[in-house]
Subunit: 300 residues, 2 copies
């Protein structure tokens, strides 16, 4: 069965070489970049079953954290072109998710029009829970949401740490940041303001399905209902019961196979563990088909 | 079937009257205290099925946040005596969990010896994730853990907000604080230092079971195993699938019926919703018995 991994990361080589010029220690400071499966596509392919196809997005490494608006925009365009080429050149990649320079919203809007909307290889944009350590729901970033809503282009939502905090850890804080952004999106009424917004949330929607009845009894019925509008992936490194809970809350149409490859389990990622966890789910096979590829085909 | 709710809150009246003297606006500032089911036992009883018995603990309202060490100790002793009387006077209460003054550790240790260990009505102590806004795992609080380990007295672990934060909300931050304390307890090696420690964590162990495979693949095997040593309650306001996931991770022996009554659903709490969620779980009846009372009987 074809399996489309909607949340797989790469590091486009030309883009990376440019980024390194801003900081010699880029690699040393960000240990997660020290994985050659991010850049070595032949090695990546050798570790992956042939029925798995990936939708690629850039690994967490954003020009706006290193350079000015003009250069950031230039680098995002470069990265997006490279991602498009990677899809064209490798049959294991079936689509790409673009980057936006969040320190230059006018460029971000142009990139959506020029690179995202016009290339069939580009099917969405990746946004992080914060840009320049400001919440992604901040007023200044909202033109991006508005434009994506207007053009019906989905968002891939990825966590980053709040750098002002001292208790950050990749096990739980990471997931809390993702959850709080979902909370803010709902609280700010984004789904009412931008009714065609499609947001694919990493890590199975983080804390939402486990605490769904807190949402129900503490927040409003509209807010509870808005949480169900998110789409989520399956990137929990396994955990069949958690995936069943995820489907229980978000609904089978809103759960898409996604692994966070090559992260989680060194060096290729947790693709096999996640497939195994989905295969063990007590749902009918046609619903597994929906998770593995049909929901993705419907979201585009 | 007898059902023992291990996590139910009350507000002992004499204690409350004393606390009000420190702050006229205690009630106004803490809206969760504005629920007469906390103090009115007859009303409480009228809202509860007769097969449900409660283990009572004081609602989140701690003298150390309002007064000095000596007065805090005096107030905790008063509250504990009152909790004991409430158990003696009401057959719906089968045991109580004591309070400790965390601004006077020597008094806390005395109270454990004199009130907790010596009264059959007192079966444990409630600790909050922070005391005086310092993490409960701080060095200065460790004599309490050491003593409880030595006497084999269980801890009821309850969340509080980190007051230095600006993004607190009762839906998710509350659960994050609880999770981070579990993380700190494991990271600090409490289960190795205090091998007989029994900790009953509110809200089904918060984020742990949903993200168990992150723990497994990011932390050490010892740390992963230590997370399984926590006991947890069922206070999720329902959510059968989440409870199944909880049992899947913590093991059936470590899940105890607990509701957070009278909180969650106004005015009596979510007792019926949680019973209904447990009844729908796809586990055999003898395992439901374990959740409802046998695990509690074994933990004492």
């Amino acid at each position: 069965m074809t399996k489309i991994d909607v949340f797989a990361h790469v590091l486009p080589t030309d883009f990376y070489n440019r980024m390194q010029k801003f900081d010699d220690n880029l690699l040393a400071k960000n240990s997660y970049l020290q994985n050659d499966v991010l850049t070595d596509i032949a090695k990546r392919k050798s570790g992956l079953d042939s029925d798995v196809k990936q939708v690629i997005s850039n690994v967490n490494s954003n020009p706006e954290d290193y350079t000015d608006a003009k250069t950031s925009a230039e680098l995002c365009r470069l990265a997006n072109d490279e991602l498009i080429s990677m899809v064209q050149d490798n049959d294991m990649f079936i689509a790409a998710v673009g980057m936006l320079p969040m320190n230059s919203i006018s460029d971000a809007l142009d990139i959506i029009d020029e690179q995202i909307a016009k290339n069939k290889e580009m099917i969405g944009v990746q946004l992080f829970t914060r840009a320049l350590n400001k919440p992604i729901i901040s007023e200044e970033y909202q033109p991006v949401f508005s434009k994506l809503n207007e053009l019906n282009i989905p968002i891939w939502l990825h966590p980053v740490f709040d750098e002002t905090r001292t208790d950050n850890n990749i096990v739980f804080s990471w997931e809390y940041e993702l959850t709080q952004t979902m909370y803010d999106i709902v609280k700010k009424g984004f789904f009412e303001k931008y009714p065609d917004l499609k947001i694919i949330v990493h890590h199975a929607g983080a804390m939402v399905s486990f605490f769904s009845q807190r949402i129900k009894h503490i927040m409003s019925p509209t807010e509870y209902n808005d949480f169900k509008k998110f789409y989520v992936d399956t990137a929990l490194l396994g955990n069949t019961k958690a995936l069943e809970l995820t489907v229980d809350f978000f609904g089978i149409e809103h759960v898409l196979f996604g692994t966070d490859a090559p992260f989680g389990i060194i060096p290729y990622g947790a693709t096999n563990e996640i497939i195994s966890a989905i295969d063990y789910m007590t749902i009918p096979n046609y619903q597994k088909d929906m998770i593995y590829h049909k929901n993705f085909e419907n979201i585009q």
